[in-house]
């Protein structure tokens, strides 16, 4: 946590004793972690250890059953999804969720437009927005597909588009749920590049991945979860060398 923290805390996001259960399953069970500002944090853990649930809680897609989420020092008991971008947080989904029946282009444009009701009625696409959209689409390699409907894309293309859509939202903290799953190696490179660039712009990234190479390569900070709890955290190489992590997650 050596990064130059500008805010009151070195963390862009914090959870304090966050809990979520589904029936009898404690998906997230008293988790307290901090996501350092301006760094890439990776969350790993066995399947079903509550990683996606964590992101769902942080982004307000699921109501908290207990605990607090601290965004930029703001303590929240209830996270409302539509308020998260205002707090500087956005996300992607493990099961990609796009606006299927509108074009790739509009999928990005939606994110760029005015949030207030009345002004949005009077807003038409501005050159700035167009340029930004083009830039993003080129960045994720979807420029040539801009006129297709999002539902006609393949799995990986959808994934890229979703990342692009999140990028379009100019916020400080990005939560990526398995952004690398199902991507072709060279696409992986591109996404990695995107993430590095985001970091260099001082943004905070939290991502989930099961790809250890990427985790080692990319993450400044690694969080390992197991059955909804924090197993361990710290530097990637060190953490991944710990025996309990190997036992719970990596396998021999």
């Amino acid at each position: 946590m050596s990064s130059a923290a500008e805010g009151p805390t070195p963390y862009a996001l914090e959870t304090v004793d966050v809990r979520k259960h589904f029936g009898g399953v404690h998906a997230v069970d008293g988790l307290s972690i901090g996501i350092p500002r301006g760094e890439i944090t990776c969350v790993v853990g066995p399947n079903g250890s509550g990683k996606s649930t964590l992101i769902n809680l942080l982004s307000g897609m699921l109501p908290l059953d207990g605990g607090l989420v601290v965004v930029d020092g703001v303590r929240l008991r209830v996270v409302k999804p539509h308020e998260t971008p205002g707090l500087g947080v956005t996300r992607t989904f493990q099961d990609v969720r796009l606006f299927d029946q509108i074009t790739v282009w509009d999928n990005i444009m939606v994110v760029l437009t005015e949030r207030r009701l009345l002004p949005s009625l009077f807003e038409r696409p501005r050159p700035g927005q167009r340029e930004r959209t083009e830039q993003i689409l080129r960045n994720v390699g979807m420029w040539e597909k801009r006129r297709s409907l999002a539902m006609d894309l393949s799995y990986g293309q959808r994934k890229l588009l979703e990342i692009g859509r999140a990028m379009a939202l100019n916020v400080n903290t990005y939560l990526f749920d398995e952004p690398f799953a199902g991507l072709f190696p060279q696409m992986l490179e591109r996404v990695k590049e995107i993430m590095r660039q985001m970091r260099s712009e001082g943004r905070t990234i939290l991502f989930i991945s099961h790809n250890m190479d990427i985790v080692r390569e990319l993450s400044d900070h690694l969080i390992v979860m197991d059955s909804g709890r924090l197993l361990t955290e710290g530097d990637a190489e060190e953490v991944l060398a710990q025996p309990e992590v190997i036992e719970a997650y990596l396998g021999v």
Partner: protein, 351 residues
């Protein structure tokens, strides 16, 4: 927006692939639909004489306002509402109650207070009232989605009908309200058919322009995003409920304006004009024309009116079956459309 350029590769490919050629022909269906329906309307008008054509024109304008406004909700926002007729009714009843000057002194019928307002004073009240109702209803309905939304909107239509029928102190229940005033600007009264048609068309134009303004704005794009994935839209900072509520209210207000026109046009209204079936037919029109396209709604309304009135002239069809036969045709049309062209005659967006 990009239709032209999308076709080009198809043309190239059609040289070596006959299938592509068929697809190309089929993709011009929109053009054909336009041509056929407009030609049909013109022929009809010529054959039946101007008097009747004017009447039909007015009916069309009213239905078209309804269809365009409903399309905002169904086509653009993805809320399949079957309750639109309720707002139509609210507009109609408000205008009727406020403008009617009929004397109901006789013992046998229910008397309601009369106000005798001019049409243009009553109409805004009806529109606002429908808007307020829409706010109240929308706040509750915002919770519902998809099938459940369809169900509760069914409920709304039925509740509205029952209120019109049973709130006798205001609506005179089944007796209906007579002598609804004709619109009047200064000394100019729109009491002949032609001027009323002109007025209705002006209303229609306003509604179309307004809708067009809405759907081409950023607001409109957010609506389509909501249609696709409400939760994901929220994550991008849109207070989805507000958007849905706004478009719902706007659409309700347009429908109420149509209702006011309707009341004034017929000069008499009773609850039978606001039954659930009409609402279902209205949804059919919107789907028939095409979701998320304004011009499609106009075409859908046109088709509907032509079907309804055209049926009267089908040889060998006994008069008592005209209404039902129209429903049969409409039903079969819907089935065929869903089978071969689920986006409707003109639409892009599929249900």
């Amino acid at each position: 927006m990009f239709t032209g350029s999308r076709r080009l590769p198809g043309l190239k490919r059609s040289v070596r692939d006959p299938g592509a050629f068929i697809r190309l022909a089929r993709s011009n269906l929109e053009l054909w639909a336009n041509l056929v329906i407009i030609a049909w309307a013109v022929t009809f008008a010529i054959l039946q004489g101007t008097g009747f054509a004017i009447t039909l024109g007015t009916v069309f304008a009213i239905w078209a306002i309804l269809a365009v406004s409903l399309n905002l909700v169904v086509g653009f926002t993805g809320l399949l509402s079957v309750g639109h007729i309720g707002f139509f009714g609210i507009g109609a009843y408000t205008v009727a109650v406020l403008t009617s000057n009929a004397s109901y002194e006789q013992l046998r019928t229910e008397a309601i207070p009369t106000f005798g307002w001019p049409f243009f004073a009553a109409l805004p009240v009806g529109v606002v009232l429908a808007g307020l109702t829409a706010v109240a209803v929308g706040v509750v309905f915002n919770r519902f989605r998809d099938d459940i939304f369809v169900l509760v909107s069914f409920g709304f239509a039925i509740i509205c009908f029952n209120v019109f029928l049973n709130a006798r102190a205001v609506t005179r229940g089944a007796f209906g309200i007579h002598e609804v005033a004709k619109p009047q600007i200064g000394g100019w009264v729109f009491d002949d058919e032609l001027s009323f048609l002109a007025l209705a068309v002006v209303f229609l134009l306003v509604v179309v322009l307004l809708s067009w303004f809405i759907v081409t704005s950023s607001f409109g794009r957010v609506l389509t995003a909501i249609r696709e994935d409400e939760r994901a839209t929220e994550v991008f900072g849109y207070q989805v409920t507000h958007y849905k509520l706004t478009v719902w209210v706007l659409s309700a207000m347009m429908a109420a304006a149509a209702g006011g026109l309707f009341a004034s046009w017929t000069t008499f209204i009773d609850p039978n004009s606001f039954v659930l079936l009409e609402s279902i037919l209205l949804v059919s029109i919107v789907i028939l024309g095409g979701l998320a396209t304004i011009w499609g709604s106009l075409l859908g309304a046109m088709t509907f009116v032509l079907l309804e009135e055209g049926m009267r002239f089908v040889p060998g069809l006994p008069d008592q079956y005209v209404g039902q036969a129209r429903q049969v045709v409409l039903g079969v049309l819907l089935v065929l459309l869903m089978l071969f062209r689920p986006q409707g005659l003109l639409g892009r967006y599929r249900l």
